[in-house]
């Protein structure tokens, strides 16, 4: 093998590989571009500010959670608890700023705490996931299943299952606000995606994450602190889930522990998978996750805007997931 490799000048001069590599790397972008073109042609009023905003807000929370999921999956793990953590953050925040947990000296303090405390709570729960996985060596899918089952229950117990309605523009800026006409949550999403993509590519932490997903035993023998890296990854996933939970309740002006983040784990995993991150770990693309989520959302939008029922869009989503993962397999040998 090696000898043959030497005689070839460089890999990018092999045309048959070039097409494959191109498709693996840019296939999802291509699909996204195609979707936009199709929509421009057939969907009425597609190229409007309104459409963009609708689609962006739909996709924001999925992407934010998906970024954390991408890191988790890159280490070869999975996090099923993200939806439940969203519910917990979403249940906690109103309890705090409505002053139900403890008296507030000043409304603004309440709002600040309503951001900080839920995020700390979900960070700790994420850390708990990581602890189960690294110290008790429970498989990620089971370890996070614990909070998947119990987490929403905890949120429901907090609120007694009641809907908490509120109107608090300062808090709701995270979900409803705009900067230069762009929804604030979209800006937040872009910042998170860019930051984490950069972290994954350029920092020691990012390299360690990928090394652990690629070969955990080898990573340990190369001196990488496997347990600590994994714990941090689940912690990040927890924080991002909490943030997504806050955005959801801010957007709805109401927190419903029964519904916030319901099914989010699957949406996020789907976005990661369509985005080209290897589900067995070791290869990850945060930008890919963004594109994956956009593709799934756009397909749904296209179908809905053209009069296809939402249920049928589910079937289409299933087909996209299978197709995307299958295509990746074809190019990855």
């Amino acid at each position: 093998m090696a000898e043959t490799a030497v005689t070839l000048p460089s890999p990018d001069k092999r045309p048959w590989l070039e097409v494959g590599t191109f498709l693996t790397r840019y296939g999802s972008w291509l699909a996204l571009a195609l979707l936009i073109l199709v929509n421009l042609a057939i969907t009425p009023n597609f190229a409007t500010w309104q459409t963009l905003n609708v689609n962006l807000t739909q996709v924001c929370t999925i992407v934010i959670v998906g970024v954390g999921m991408t890191l988790v999956i890159a280490t070869g793990g999975i996090d099923l608890s993200v939806g439940a953590l969203m519910a917990i953050a979403g249940a906690l925040a109103p309890l705090i700023f409505l002053g139900k947990l403890f008296p507030l000296p000043h409304p603004l303090v309440g709002i600040a705490l309503a951001f900080v405390i839920p995020l700390i709570a979900t960070a700790l729960l994420g850390l708990f996931n990581g602890w189960l996985i690294t110290h008790l060596r429970i498989q990620p899918i089971i370890a996070t299943l614990v909070l998947f089952i119990a987490g929403r229950g905890i949120a429901q117990v907090f609120t007694n299952g009641n809907l908490q309605v509120f109107n608090l523009p300062e808090f709701q800026f995270i979900g409803l606000g705009r900067l230069f006409g762009i929804p604030f949550q979209a800006i937040l999403m872009v910042i998170i995606v860019v930051t984490v993509a950069w972290v994954l590519r350029r920092t020691v932490f990012g390299r360690e994450v990928l090394a652990i997903g690629g070969n955990e035993r080898a990573a340990r023998l190369a001196g990488i602190p496997v347990a600590s890296v994994k714990q941090r990854v689940y912690l990040i996933s927890g924080v991002l889930s909490g943030l997504a939970g806050l955005i959801v309740i801010a957007r709805n002006s109401a927190a419903d522990a029964n519904l916030v983040g319901l099914g989010m784990e699957l949406d996020a995993i789907a976005a990661v998978a369509v985005g080209g991150t290897l589900l067995t770990g070791g290869r990850a693309s945060v930008i890919g996750t963004l594109v994956g989520a956009l593709i799934i959302q756009l397909v749904r939008y296209t179908l809905l805007a053209n009069g296809v029922p939402d249920a049928a869009a589910l079937v289409a989503k299933a087909a996209i997931i299978v197709l995307a993962v299958w295509l990746q397999r074809q190019n990855y040998r």
């Binding site: 008790l136 899918i141 089971i142 995993i269 789907a270 049928a312």
Partner: protein, 324 residues
């Protein structure tokens, strides 16, 4: 190698769940009146038989080292199809539900064994698809079952004063146990989970066995859907959310390794009953009037229980590892 210690750990792993179930039953019997009363026992069995069926399919899938996330929405689809066909009688309803389950199972089998896609992702996709199909068929609402054709008997009826769904579950579990232990198919299922490559190189039909396991899981979920429709008098397109994870929890609590290769049908049943009883005991506890725990505690307690079981299992297997 300290094999007696190893055996001891295994024994605790295997019979610990049974012990926990017995303790829970004794606890309930001592604490609550009517806990072991006929009515309560039968209704617990009637209600949990659906979960038992789904968990059995999941058990086989997990033994092969796979996972099936589509069971819940497959059951929902099964219930819708069964409800739609219920006016034509028991048999069409039953077969319809089974066929729906078979179809989803076959999709899973195809995607996993032919397209070589990870079971997790494949069944995640079919979960969405099944749910979409159920909603389309039911036109986004629950579908009433016909009461004239006798279809509801499958869920509500008794046979020798024992609930029919429990009969079905019992029969299927006996069959499942027989298949796993005494047929070459069953042994191949265990072998595939233990080391798939080796099984393939040994010349065993690993692919076909895996396919069969997913189809089986689909059919059992379809059957659970039929019972669901019959028991509640309606096909429920949005039921079944979270069933897959409940089933996984039951299988894991029963001591089946998620990595595949080790598992038991009987322990899975014990796992289902254990998780089911927690809910039942919660109801009784509320009935006593000392405390009032909302139904929301159910999932918290289930989660805590799952945590307890998996941590004990993890401890035991770490020790067993050290003992070798």
């Amino acid at each position: 190698m300290d094999s007696t210690r190893l055996k001891l750990f295994r024994g605790i792993g295997r019979y610990g769940v049974l012990l926990a179930l017995i303790i829970l039953i004794v606890f309930g019997w001592l604490r609550y009146e009517n806990f072991l009363g006929l009515f309560n026992v039968l209704s617990v069995l009637r209600y949990n038989s659906m979960f038992a069926l789904v968990a059995l399919g999941m058990c086989f899938v997990i033994i092969t080292g796979g996972i099936d996330l589509s069971v819940g929405s497959t059951a929902a689809l099964g219930s819708v199809v069964a409800a739609l066909l219920s006016p034509y009688g028991i048999l069409p309803g039953l077969l319809g539900g089974l066929a729906a389950g078979f179809a989803i199972g076959a999709c899973n089998a195809f995607i996993i064994t032919r397209l070589n896609i990870l079971p997790f992702i494949a069944t995640l996709a079919t979960m969405l698809a099944a749910s979409g199909c159920a909603l389309l068929l039911a036109e986004n609402q629950s579908v009433s079952v016909s009461y004239d054709s006798g279809f509801t008997e499958i869920g509500q009826g008794d046979f020798f004063s024992f609930p029919i769904p429990a009969w079905i579950a019992l029969f299927v579990y006996l069959l499942g146990s027989l298949v796993l232990n005494l047929t070459s198919f069953g042994r191949t299922v265990l072998a595939v989970g233990g080391n798939e490559d080796a099984t393939r190189l040994m010349g065993l039909p690993a692919g076909r066995v895996k396919a069969a396991v997913y189809i089986m899981s689909g059919c059992l979920s379809g059957l659970a859907g039929v019972i669901l429709a019959a028991q509640f008098g309606a096909g429920q397109p949005i039921e079944g959310v979270g069933w897959e994870l409940f089933a996984i929890a039951a299988v894991v609590v029963g001591g089946t390794l998620l990595t595949g290769g080790v598992g038991s049908v009987g322990s899975t049943l014990v796992g289902v009953l254990l998780l089911g009883l927690i809910f039942n005991i919660l109801n009784f506890e509320n009935g006593l009037g000392w405390i009032s725990l909302s139904a929301y505690w159910q999932s918290v307690i289930r989660g805590a229980f799952l945590l307890l079981v998996v941590s004990i299992q993890a401890r035991l297997s770490l020790r067993a590892e050290e003992a070798t």
